[in-house]
């Protein structure tokens, strides 16, 4: 009983900082409609800055009450300034770009901040100071409870109150709420949106920074804080309802407590619990606990141009490339061959995601789930049934396709950001299963010894195998696009109502499209597993899902060729960067930013623009 109370209070304390992060995220999203992946990075920066300010320099020398709390507040303010700078220098330029492009830009910021933090603070965990006045524990009902936790428990509701006052009692807050509903009208009434956006980023970032700095006495600062917290914050914002502060508060409490008690009750599946709750909430209340259906004032999606047929020169270039890919490899070394085989798999992986995102008009933040499902499907067969590669390669697309059918059934029922978040949630569930179900999946150690059959062991043969299977997959996906099914898919994307009117079952079309994409990703995953000889939970992790997103967006969603170029460019760039530089994230992030700013149509878009100019 006693431990239950302590655990409940623990949950409340975590809920407070989760709420601060989620509040910032939801406020920024409400006004700018940007899903800020970098919000977790701002949280991490807040923690690092807080650490520096409280342990070095004048405030640290001052020490005591003002030293610590001054440091925490300054860290929050500095993070707010950094957020404003990010908005001012980067995001302001891409407000008109498609939603996912903005996401890509904020993800690039994540990469850049990772390496900058590594450069400044190093890879080791940093321990922060204790909070003055709040050291030690207090007795409550005969139980000793850390004072700092009690303090944190109060921070959440107090901040909720302060934010409520800000939003309802100040002109700035009223403008923010108005802009959340109809930005264009706010501008027509003479309000300078740019200033509003910059200040909302400053506000949201300061909240994240405050949350990060307040963690100092509780846990060590490290480079993994950003991803860990952003996923939780997404979950909370989605459960609570996008743009709803009260919802975020409720959801933070729910998730905080879920973690606290999950550890006691279901230690094996704590990671899954939060996501299961999110999936359940979204299915029951598609706009979150307190969220409302976004008003019809949002600009409708820009109608995409019809899928272009490949121009003649492109077909010829493709044929030449294919010949080279067949003829050259015997002259290449093993390293080059395995890099190329990986690229081929990434091309299929990206092409499969493209089916969902381009023609399907849905977003998937969790496409790695299907890649991993294929990989684990093959590996489990090999481990438990000693199945040969041929069987594994046939089985993997089915395994992934079935996972896609199950997850997709939920995802295709929601729209926009909510659907994207649900895909992320399912991917996390898949990841947690692989990570925590040690008896079957080997947990963190993965499954080793997933080797190709004897005849395909040579790098050259394996390359031809990868080329053939991935090539076949890509060609099939492409043919599908121009087949009646592909037209139905595009029709439901461009005008669901009209598509329904001519007898297309839009839900079903999306569902089938989702499953087909999953199956193709599963094929890529299985090949990847045989190429590496092993599978690990990271195959299903968020970074791999993000890889897929980046590849598709980098190439351009609106063409069939785009994802292929994007996959080659991205995986090639990453491979090379990892080899030549420790700071590959920084370089990659800056490269992505440059692309987003200068080629908003992706690589294929840039190619096509040249084509148009010539015509």
């Amino acid at each position: 009983m006693d431990s239950l109370i302590v655990q409940a209070l623990n949950g409340l304390a975590s809920a407070s900082s989760l709420f601060l992060v989620a509040a910032g995220l939801t406020v920024i999203f409400g006004v700018s409609r940007i899903v800020n992946f970098a919000h977790g990075s701002l949280y991490m920066l807040g923690a690092y800055l807080g650490w520096t300010l409280t342990s070095h320099g004048p405030l640290a020398e001052l020490g005591g009450f003002f030293g610590f709390w001054g440091g925490v507040l300054l860290a929050a303010l500095a993070t707010g300034l950094i957020g404003a700078a990010i908005e001012f220098l980067l995001l302001r330029r891409i407000y008109r770009a498609p939603e996912l492009f903005q996401l890509l830009a904020t993800f690039a910021v994540v990469l850049v901040v990772q390496d900058i933090a590594l450069l400044i603070w190093g890879p080791q965990d940093l321990l922060g100071p204790r909070a003055p006045l709040l050291r030690g524990a207090t007795e409550i009902l005969g139980l000793r409870f850390p004072r700092y936790e009690l303090f944190l428990i109060c921070v959440g509701p107090v901040m909720l109150g302060l934010l409520w006052l800000l939003f309802h009692r100040t002109r700035f807050g009223i403008l923010l709420r108005a802009a959340t509903q109809d930005r264009e009208m706010v501008a027509a009434l003479g309000v300078d949106q740019r200033r509003l956006f910059t200040s909302v980023f400053a506000l949201g970032s300061a909240l994240a920074g405050l949350a990060g700095a307040l963690q100092l006495p509780r846990e060590a600062v490290n480079l993994h804080m950003d991803m860990a917290v952003i996923v939780e914050a997404f979950v909370i914002v989605v459960i609570g309802g996008l743009g709803s502060l009260g919802g975020a508060f409720l959801a933070a409490l729910l998730i905080g407590e879920l973690h606290a008690f999950g550890i006691l009750v279901f230690p094996r599946i704590t990671l899954v619990l939060a996501f299961l709750v999110m999936a359940a909430v979204l299915v029951l209340r598609p706009h979150g606990l307190l969220g409302r259906k976004p008003s019809g004032l949002l600009p409708a999606a820009v109608p995409s141009p019809p899928l272009p047929r490949a121009p003649r020169w492109l077909v010829q270039a493709g044929a030449v490339a294919l010949v080279l890919l067949v003829v050259l490899p015997p002259f290449l070394g093993d390293y080059a061959l395995s890099v190329m085989a990986d690229m081929a798999m990434m091309v299929l992986f990206a092409a499969s995601l493209h089916l969902i995102m381009g023609p399907g008009g849905m977003a998937s933040f969790g496409h790695a789930a299907y890649f991993g499902a294929g990989a684990y499907g093959a590996a489990l067969l090999a481990k438990h049934f000693a199945a040969p590669m041929e069987v594994g390669l046939v089985f993997a697309p089915f395994a992934a396709g079935i996972v896609g059918l199950v997850f997709g059934w939920f995802c295709v029922r929601l729209s926009g950001v909510y659907s994207a978040m649900l895909t992320l949630a399912f991917a996390q569930i898949a990841w947690s299963t692989a990570f925590q179900w040690v008896e079957v999946t080997g947990g963190d150690n993965g499954i080793l010894g997933v080797w190709p059959s004897e005849w395909a062991r040579g790098k050259l043969v394996f390359w031809y195998l990868a080329l053939a299977l991935c090539g076949l997959g890509v060609v099939l996906l492409r043919r599908l696009l121009y087949a009646p099914f592909g037209m139905a898919l595009r029709a439901q994307r461009d005008s669901p109502l009209r598509a329904e009117a001519i007898g297309i079952d839009t839900l079903r079309v999306r569902w089938v499209g989702f499953a087909i994409a999953a199956a193709a990703a599963g094929m890529a995953g299985a090949l990847f597993a045989y190429g590496k000889g092993s599978v690990f939970p990271s195959f299903l992790g968020i970074p791999r899902s993000v890889d897929a997103l980046v590849m598709v967006l980098l190439g351009g969603v609106q063409t069939v060729l785009g994802p292929l170029l994007g996959a080659v460019a991205y995986s090639g760039l990453q491979e090379q960067l990892v080899r030549i530089s420790d700071l590959w994230r920084l370089v990659l992030g800056v490269a992505i930013l440059a692309l987003v700013l200068f080629f908003p149509g992706g690589l294929a878009g840039a190619l096509r623009r040249r084509e148009d100019d010539r015509a």
Binding site: R171, I174, L175, R177, A178, Q181, D182, E184, M185, V186, A187, A188, L189, G190, V191, D192, Q193, S295, L297
Partner: protein
């Protein structure tokens, strides 16, 4: 006061306005008349910068505003009341007015909520009500009041009588006449000829994105042929 010259506008690739030119004198009420889809709303949006004009000039007191951001155009003194009203549904009446509020130019009598409530007394009774829970007529009054809070010198009113009950339409006409008496210049768009006749001095007839005919309101009412050509459906 306002002079629009050769205004062109596009929605994506669709060319909608083909060189609209018109002017509004100080204290004058000019009415844009035309059938559904003629381009009345687009003209207003292009003046306001909500749809950026692709060519042409929008001169307010001689200063060209074409191509500016809409917040700058609002600050220059043009107030815009869109036809779909675009009330902030989750904000209360008071808060909606607050969004529109801007300091009045020195020396002029500025608008404040109390003054707006004397123009539209209904609003005073529902200061705390969210905009989403008001009737169409009440929302129309609120959207006009909200724009007035920015102390515009020229008001763009897009179909203020659309979808309103006859009594409310009458009240609306009275309010517009009251604003006119105070010297506000107004460019209005209408399909309701009787309403236009009650408030406007002059009419501009628009068809397929081009201005076809300009006449005083009285002359237009006397000219059956022109009305039949541009307005009858």
């Amino acid at each position: 006061m306002l002079r629009v010259d050769g205004l062109h506008a596009h929605y994506g690739r669709a060319h909608i306005l083909h060189g609209v030119s018109l002017d509004v004198a100080q204290g004058e009420v000019v009415c844009l008349l035309g059938r559904n889809g003629a381009g009345k709303s687009t003209t207003m949006k292009a003046i306001m910068g909500v749809v950026p004009p692709s060519a042409g000039q929008v001169l307010l007191d001689g200063k060209d505003l074409a191509g500016r951001a809409s917040f700058e155009i609002a600050r220059a003194g043009i107030g815009y009341v869109p036809e779909d009203r675009r009330i902030f549904a989750e904000l209360t009446v008071e808060e909606n007015l607050e969004v529109g509020r801007r300091a009045a130019p020195a020396g002029s009598q500025g608008w404040n909520p109390e003054r707006a409530y004397t123009l539209f007394p209904v609003l005073a009774e529902m200061r705390r009500r969210p905009g989403g829970r008001m009737s169409g007529g009440e929302q129309q009054m609120l959207t006009i009041a909200r724009t007035l809070m920015g102390n515009p010198r020229l008001l763009l009113l897009d179909e203020p009588s659309e979808g309103l009950a006859p009594v409310v339409v009458e009240r609306m006409a009275e309010a517009i006449l009251a604003l006119k008496r105070e010297g506000l210049s107004i460019l209005l768009s209408e399909q309701n000829l009787a309403f236009a006749n009650a408030v406007a001095d002059r009419a501009c007839l628009i068809e397929t994105g081009q201005l076809r005919h300009t006449a005083s309101m009285a002359a237009l009412m006397a000219d059956d042929e022109v009305r039949a050509r541009y307005l009858s459906v």
